[in-house]
């Protein structure tokens, strides 16, 4: 078996003085979609931010595509092939939709073309000249994802892509994720919406107070419902 595309070991991280990650071990294989579940404030977002290198007060090990990421400066993380879609989406108000879309530089070949993206998200095409933050929440979420698809990133870190979205849009995003998977994209998904996650993820991690307390494949889901019920109130 080949080495995982993305792997962390003993990852710890701090916000100023508050210790948030207490040793996160996680691995993602190429082409796989994993999902990190957990209650509010357990450190899911922090895990993604730490892998991206946005949170730099960290120790432990992060390997991506065989490369040690701990010492890579933030602006080079993307070039290694990691793409990040933040929880707050990060749409720029002073940029139009199209400018937002075109903003991230291409880091590798194999990204989607603009035409393909507009195919995937017809709403964006319609509104491509309006200011980014005038979009609805769902559209903003699509734009945030679309933005990364253009760059040729091999692995997407998605932070709660369904938060605050209507079910129909959630379904649309689910479709997009499945399409991406067919194209061989690797995805790390952080979700509170378990039902959504269950439809797209191959494997689950359960996070509690800054560590991974459980890990299981989607096939094992029925056996784990108890645990999830206890931990998440599912």
């Amino acid at each position: 078996m080949t080495a995982p595309l993305l792997e962390t070991a003993g990852l710890q991280a701090w916000y100023g003085e508050s210790h948030v990650l207490h040793g996160v071990d996680l691995h993602v294989n190429e082409g796989e979609t994993i999902c990190i579940l957990g209650r509010n404030g357990m450190g899911k977002t922090t895990t993604l931010r730490t892998i991206m290198g946005i949170l730099r007060k960290r120790t432990g090990r992060i390997t991506f595509a065989g490369q040690d990421m701990m010492s890579v400066p933030l602006h080079k993380t993307a070039r290694a092939g990691l793409g990040f879609v933040p929880e707050e989406r990060g749409i720029f108000a002073t940029l139009s939709v199209e400018e937002n879309l075109m903003l991230p530089p291409k880091v590798a070949d194999g990204g989607m073309s603009v035409a393909e993206i507009y195919d995937l998200f017809p709403n964006l095409l319609e509104r491509r000249n309006s200011p980014g933050t005038k979009l609805s929440g769902g559209e903003q979420q699509m734009l945030a994802m679309a933005r990364i698809l253009r760059t040729g990133a091999r692995c997407l870190l998605l932070d709660e892509p369904t938060e605050g979205l209507a079910p129909v849009i959630i379904n649309a995003i689910g479709d997009v994720l499945r399409q991406l998977k067919q194209r061989g994209m690797t995805v790390v998904l952080v979700e509170q919406n378990f039902r959504f996650a269950a439809k797209v993820a191959d494997r689950f991690y359960l996070m509690d107070h800054g560590t991974m307390t459980a890990e299981f494949p989607v096939s094992d889901l029925p056996n784990r419902m108890d645990l999830l019920h206890r931990e998440l109130g599912v």
Binding site: G16, E17, R56, K57, L74
Partner: protein
């Protein structure tokens, strides 16, 4: 707007280490002995050094200490303190020279005038914070500069010259250099005591807490802007005290004292000596004044050195001389209680 440059550089500065250094049992004795030495030195200094130079040093020491009252204890960087220093110099000089007031009354007018200017400038400036505050004070003081350039009583470019020193309380003839020196020394000590008291008072405690966490202070019911304004006026008044005395020492009040370069100079003194320490600004003033004196008759411009010292201080030496000393293991043992700012 997010604070990009700072975020890029990796968040707010390092957390303060929680070290506990034992205070040396004889720390109090050492502090007292040091004070005694300084007092003796100040009393005897005019026997060995040029008294005018010493007086200049004391006046600027007081000015810097007054400035630091604001920067060091409320975290407000004023780039306009020349207004209070120079404004008071004008008021005092005018009162003494044109109205024939006694020196103490003249200085009193200088202090009051500076306080009034402080009230006006402060009321406008404290509407904004940080760099905005600095720029606004700078611009307002430049406005005052142009006012002084044009107002008749300041004599424009000529300045108020040949200001008589007069007779203090009708008893002490200040035209005698030694008498003048001891008068300035007395004012200096009184000024520093006022600052010390101010900082170590209930009011000072509130100022300190405002600097540490303004939002929290508001939520505890403190009207932050009034406290800041209070500190601003106090600092202005003390800077005015220094300015009034300066006018009598040099018998002169000119545009140099209200120019923005003077505001820059006092910042340098404070930065060099140590922001937020009681002795730092005085030491910094001493260094700067000595340097200026040394270079006054050479043609090497002081500003080059001033500029470079500024850059070095900001880049590697932010605690200043006294700050570094207090932070050293020696300082921590003997002066731990004196530290008021990280």
């Amino acid at each position: 707007m997010p604070d990009m440059a700072r975020e890029i550089a990796g968040g707010k500065s390092e957390p303060v280490p929680a070290e506990h250094v034992a205070i040396h049992p004889r720390a109090g004795t050492v502090q007292l002995a040091l004070l005694a030495v300084i007092a003796a030195a100040l009393l005897l200094a005019p026997q060995f050094l040029y008294p005018i130079f010493l007086m200049k040093l004391l006046a600027f020491g007081l000015f810097a200490a007054a400035f630091n009252l604001l920067l060091g204890y409320t975290g407000l960087l004023s780039f306009g303190h020349a207004t209070f220093f120079g404004g008071a110099a004008y008021f005092t000089a005018h009162a003494v020279k044109v109205w024939g007031w006694s020196p103490e009354a003249g200085i009193g007018l200088g202090v009051l005038g500076a306080a009034a200017l402080g009230l006006v400038m402060g009321a406008v400036a404290i509407r904004r914070q940080g760099i905005y505050f600095a720029m606004i004070t700078l611009a307002l003081s430049q406005m005052f500069f142009f006012f002084c350039l044009q107002a008749g009583f300041t004599q424009g470019e000529d300045g108020i010259q040949s200001v008589p020193r007069g007779t203090l309380f009708g008893v002490f003839d200040l035209s005698d250099t030694m008498t003048m020196y001891y008068f300035v020394l007395a004012v200096f000590i009184i000024g520093l005591l006022i600052i010390w008291r101010f900082v170590n008072s209930p009011f000072g405690m509130i100022l300190k807490s405002i600097r540490e966490n303004e939002q929290r202070a508001v939520s505890l019911g403190y009207s932050v802007s009034r406290y800041k304004l209070g500190a601003f006026v106090m600092s202005a008044a003390l800077a005015g005290l220094a300015g009034g005395v300066k006018a009598l020492i040099f018998q002169f009040a000119t545009l140099t004292d209200v120019a923005w370069q003077m505001s820059g100079e006092v910042i340098l003194m404070t930065l060099l000596g140590g922001i937020g320490t009681l002795a730092g600004p005085v030491v910094g003033a001493g260094l700067v004044v000595t340097l200026q004196n040394y270079l006054a008759t050479s043609d090497f411009p002081v500003t080059i050195i001033t500029g470079v010292v500024f850059m070095v201080c900001v880049l590697v030496f932010r605690r200043g001389l006294i700050g570094e000393l207090l932070e050293s293991s020696f300082g921590r043992r003997f002066f731990a209680s004196r530290r008021t700012r990280e």
